[in-house]
Symmetry: C2
Subunit: 195 residues, 2 copies
């Protein structure tokens, strides 16, 4: 019962890699299997079909990463503007999990799968929702301790910030890292206007 957990994880991780590059629909199960030492029998033992694997990908890999990289940095924040900027800047700097060319796995999945599959839609909506809420709460706390202007609407601002991130991951696919830099500079201007 030990090894099997590992093979399941291996399948998920390899799938994650391939789907990140090629997209969910055009990454075939055979693609995944032939890229690693696992057979179809193992795959369909662990997942009843491709969709279940795709959803497991979201809950078992994407969600925990989201918590770690996008929620935690905000929860213990004294200065919302600094924290939020740093969170986004760190995301865009992270070349271990991301490649400009391929954008952001979560954003990609939203783009591709959200309109096509209600289960994907639900799972991804939860992720986006949690992130947006975390930003909103962070800004709200900022209003309380005077770091954020009283006329600022935290929910609106959070939606705007999340949108901006998703967008720069998209445009980055076309124009490369320079857009990241431009975006970050203007993003800082925007954030400062929230004081």
């Amino acid at each position: 019962m030990r090894k099997s957990v590992q093979t399941r994880l291996n399948i998920l991780q390899k799938s994650f890699e391939l789907i990140y590059v090629k997209g969910y629909q055009s990454t075939s199960i055979d693609d995944i299997l032939s890229s690693m030492e696992v057979t179809k029998g193992a795959f369909f033992y662990h997942f009843k079909n491709k969709e279940e694997m795709g959803l497991a990908l979201i809950t078992d890999l994407l969600y925990p990463r989201m918590k770690h990289f996008l929620i935690e940095p905000l929860s213990s924040s004294a200065d919302p503007i600094k924290s939020i900027y740093q969170m986004i800047a760190n995301l865009l700097k992270d070349t271990e999990h991301f490649d400009v060319k391929y954008g952001c796995p979560a954003v990609n999945l939203i783009e591709e799968m959200s309109p096509l599959n209600t289960a994907f839609h639900k799972h991804l909506k939860d992720i986006v929702g949690e992130w947006t809420d975390a930003i909103e709460k962070c800004l709200l706390k900022g209003k309380e301790n005077g770091k954020i202007g009283l006329m600022i609407n935290p929910a609106e601002a959070a939606a705007y910030i999340v949108s901006g991130y998703a967008g720069v991951r998209n445009i980055g696919k076309m124009l490369g890292t320079p857009v990241y830099q431009s975006y970050l500079k203007q993003f800082k201007l925007y954030l400062n206007s929230l004081t």
Copy 2:
């Protein structure tokens, strides 16, 4: 030689519709054909393969629309902030060409095809590039006639604006039209900070 031009256009338009909803890769040629009164012979008479059709889709449909809806409104602009805001607001209001659930056809194609196919990448890069340039020039003209602050970097701002639009189309797929409203309000705040 008259009718054939129309069938070619019909194929492109129907393809555009289906690809907008399902994505390029998972819209099969058979899907397209069975959704209209055209046979495989006609399809492959007009396009040597699926890729050529996809690229024609960009140059013959997407590009002209981009010119009309995204470039023209800016070229004759006296007040950049007003024009740019109106352009984006009108885009997000347009329910004839767009559906929140399915986002923006161009953004979708970028997300899906840009990393996968160099020809798609090039075509889409041109579109994004032209739009960004148009916004940049509009802001530059604004600097000259005093509508835009002298310390503003038009190229940076343009990249930021385009990113924001792409992003809200993505997040809109998840959270629906309310994000459009939030986004527009904060976008206006940002634009006003450019004076």
